[in-house]
């Protein structure tokens, strides 16, 4: 068994052992061994130093190339961000324009089915409520859903114009809604700001097309006013009656006042009339004092 292994590892080890024995027999002088040892040690140290130096050089070169490439990508990035910022600003501006379209009174947004129209009502420069009509564009054209109040004659207007003349439909609806908003605005302001002039509750209805109230402007007796808006597209009454409260006959002065008020209500918006009453009162107070 052992003989077979002679060509293998064991044989090699035996050879090395024999070699070492022969070297011992030659008996080299101890100081020579030491010298050789120290020479080898120096060489090892020299080689290590060279290795470290080369490693440092490689590292240094790697770092410089990295920095160079980083600088170039940074340059690209700033260009990119600047472009992105410009696009973002443009997008915001377009969005703002689209949002601002509501100030024209009639705007819309495309939907998957058709278009959603937004009617923004206004009166005398005051932006009031907005109403929506979601239209489905198919044959026949139909209204998917809407936020038009139930007392606005939407069905009537749709029956007349929706299928034949969409522009006319939208225009008529705009007209009706703007007029309603305007009348409502006047009635709300009378009930709010100028409530002090009223001597009883303001009688109104959903469409604000019939307003009835009693009011007093100076120390004398009050008047009853009845404003009728027979046309749903107007914000000024089609018919005004001002009657005196109380049973005694009117003096000439009071009759003049009554007629003047009737004319005022016919030609000026309601809240403007009462604003003028308020101004007159202020004037008379300041004159008196």
């Amino acid at each position: 068994m052992m003989r077979k292994m002679k060509s293998g590892v064991l044989a090699h080890l035996e050879g090395l052992e024999a070699q070492m024995n022969r070297a011992c027999k030659r008996s080299e002088k101890p100081w020579r061994v030491q010298a050789r040892e120290s020479a080898l040690g120096t060489k090892i140290r020299e080689l290590r130093r060279l290795r470290d130096k080369l490693k440092a050089e490689v590292k240094r070169r790697q770092q410089t190339t990295e920095k160079a490439s980083l600088a170039s990508t940074e340059c690209d990035q700033t260009v990119e961000t600047r472009e992105q910022e410009a696009l973002e600003r443009k997008r915001e501006s377009v969005k703002a324009i689209l949002q601002a379209y509501r100030f024209t009174g009639l705007s819309g947004k495309l939907t998957s089915r058709g278009v959603c129209v937004c009617i923004s009502t206004a009166f005398e420069g005051n932006l009031l409520d907005s109403y929506f009509v979601d239209l489905v564009i198919e044959k026949p054209l139909r209204i998917h859903h809407h936020s038009i109040p139930v007392f606005i004659p939407l069905e009537k207007i749709a029956a007349k114009y929706l299928q034949t003349d969409l522009q006319h439909f939208l225009f008529s609806l705009c007209e009706a809604l703007n007029a309603y908003s305007g009348r409502k605005y006047q009635a709300d302001r009378l009930q709010g700001e100028f409530a002090a002039f009223l001597t009883g509750p303001l009688q109104r209805n959903s469409l604000c097309n019939l307003l009835s109230f009693t009011y007093k402007v100076d120390q004398s007796s009050s008047f009853r006013a009845r404003l009728l808006y027979e046309d749903l597209t107007v914000t000024l009454p089609t018919d005004v009656t001002v009657t005196p409260q109380g049973t005694e006959a009117l003096s000439a002065l009071r009759e003049e006042q009554r007629a003047a008020h009737e004319a005022l209500f016919r030609t000026e918006p309601l809240h403007k009339v009462f604003a003028s009453f308020a101004r007159e009162e202020e004037l008379s107070v300041s004159v008196a004092s």
Partner: protein
Amino acid sequence: MGRTRQMDVNLAEFVRRTILKIPMAKMMTILKTWGFLSENQLQTLNFKQRKDSFAQDLILQCEENRATISDVALLDIVYTQVHQHQKIWNVFHMNRKPDEEVDIFDMEEFKRTFKKILHRALKNVTVSFRDAEDDSVWIRIAWGTQHKKPNQYKPTYVVYRSQTPYAFTSSSPLKGVVPLLGQALMTASRHHQIVQMDLRSRHLDSLKAIVFKQFNQEFENHNSITPLQEGTLGLDINMDSRIIHENTVEKERVWRVTQETFGVSPPPQLEFAQYKLETKFKGDLCGGILADREEPLRCLIKFSSPNLLEALKCLAPAGIADAPLSPLLTCIPNKAMNYFKIRDK
């Protein structure tokens, strides 16, 4: 100081029973809204005593102010306005001739005409009005006969918003009054036809939202914030990130279909939907008692819930039903119906 006139016994009883209905917690608010007693009188009332004695004190104050039936009827209206859900409300739809006439609604004229028609038909009837917000009026009718005084404890309430074709009435145990009520409403509001709708609920506000189409009011426009794109129904927001949904595509489809059908905002509140079926039985099993019958199977299916539409909205996302739901269920708010009769075509 003269002795205050003793109130009519029946009237005093009416006051007493009305006061006893009102919960003490709401008493001050309701009395203030009523506006019949002065601030001083309200201050002198002792709210800490037993209700019986409180009612007696109040009767004395009403005597001082010479209260009439109309005044107490107004108190009853205020009570009902605060406790709307105690009544079941029906909806009536009115039509007028399709002419060009613009609706000039005069509230005073409406009230006059309404009262006149009822008084003409019935000698004994108490009609009271109270104006409400939204240009509406609340009407209270206590019914009597030719020979009997009006029964103040079984009144009918009507809520009507001017220049609209809808009126809301409380369910009355007195069924015979409905035609007369309809007649009065129709004539006073200048319509020529009135029909009861198949829509009923305790929630008056929800009924208004349905017929005035004030639900589901989201519209696409450039000014609104776009609705949430993430498919949630509030359930998944706080879920652990280590949990993944296997079926996200289907979940998102279901969520999208549900949103398209029901909208984003909370739906009107209805408590039930009733389906009266008169259809032939269609079953999978061959044979059996119900199969091969010529006559239709009559059955009544009733869905109940504190908030039926909200519950239906949650069915598909919860995995209990397929989306889209049957149109018989989803059409409820759009058709303004929650009572259906279904027959074979």
